[in-house]
Symmetry: C2
Subunit: 229 residues, 2 copies
């Protein structure tokens, strides 16, 4: 029992810098996602280390983790290259993402609670406001938050972990498309909330499948537009 009488909530959780490799990992991942490092680019350990002000070791560890997660390709005795996404791979990622999200929607409907639905509605409102304001970054963020919360409601940590990885990579390919179907997307989110609220697993599953399928179609449409533009 603590006898200090310190207010529990006020503990500032004094920030530990945490392992360097973590921060290097996040820094590099950010650089890749924002296209500051373009696909196919050769990443030299000493350069990155010097640029980030650390030694080679944390850089190496970060690169290896990025390798296992598919962000960079690590060719033996030659170095790290930013992964080059292919059309085929993008499609496969979308298929898997659809699968995981659909299952999450079903489980969310099965486990739905009052507060959970309430939070979903709040997140949805945030997203709709962002669409109204036409602020792309916030729309993307709100979309991610909404899907993440559905995933959380599913209550399956393994599923969540996998979906997080797949989602980030999908979003890497998909960011330019986000704007195109802003409004329609949030209408479908509303439908999903209704299904979850009614604890209708089949309906939630169907809605999410349609939703992700629309995203996939939108992506392919974008590809065609780029081709002719």
């Amino acid at each position: 029992m603590l006898s200090t009488g310190l207010p529990q909530g006020a503990m500032p959780k004094l920030e530990r810098p945490g392992p360097l490799r973590e921060r290097v990992y996040e820094a590099l991942l950010d650089l890749i996602i924002t296209r500051a490092l373009s696909p196919g680019q050769h990443l030299v350990e000493t350069e990155l280390a010097g640029h980030l002000g650390v030694s080679r070791q944390p850089v190496r560890e970060a690169l290896q983790r990025l390798n296992t997660e598919g962000w960079v390709d690590l060719r033996p005795a030659q170095g790290a290259f930013v992964h080059e996404p292919t059309e085929q791979e993008a499609d496969q990622l979308l298929v898997v993402r659809a699968l995981l999200e659909t299952e999450a929607a079903r489980l969310a409907a099965a486990n739905a609670t009052g507060p959970g639905v309430k939070e979903l509605e709040r997140l949805c409102a945030v997203g709709e406001a962002a669409v109204e304001a036409d602020t792309v970054d916030e729309v993307v963020a709100a979309n991610a938050a909404f899907h993440a919360y559905v995933m959380q409601l599913a209550g399956n940590a393994v599923l969540t972990e996998l979906a997080a990885q797949v989602d980030r990579r999908v979003r890497w390919y998909y960011t330019p498309v986000a704007r195109q179907r802003g409004a329609q997307s949030w209408i479908e989110h509303r439908e999903l909330i209704a299904a979850i609220k009614g604890r209708d697993e089949a309906e939630a599953q169907a809605v999410m499948r349609t939703h992700t399928e629309h995203t996939r179609t939108s992506y392919h449409q974008r590809q065609k537009d780029d081709g002719k533009g």
Copy 2:
């Protein structure tokens, strides 16, 4: 053009040792799966390094990869501990595995080819022979090979990658159970082959779902049996 007249097929592909971290990774993973390293055990870098005859660095890199894949827990400034599987986590893994395998079955049915079905039948025969001979290790291996080939027929590399990871972890929990339902399992495999051969996506999906569900039930049954002892 090679003018040396060397026989092309006879090139022994002289084995490159490959990166040390890879071999350390495989060695450690093997030790974990075979329970030579028991769950919760504290892994000391210097010990492992000395025991394997290498320096700490490759060991570190291997441990970090094992960490991202969920085999060990890496507590900061304290070291690596072999992950301790919980009942809940096992169930969640089985759910995800069922999901991935079911989708693979559907895709395999969609993409089925003559040679592919033929190979499935061959693998199934191998498995049935192993069951007949009652050689546990071979049954497990044949089962893994069969499911891996179904996955390959699905033709989705991302799905394959994820399923491989999940499968290995499931099998870690599940190995002691494998023996119990040897025969029934291969009957269901035959049903799956029939569905794929007929290119009936819905049927393949349903069969695989039932199949994985049986595995899950079997696992829980085993848990109860262990409990009563």
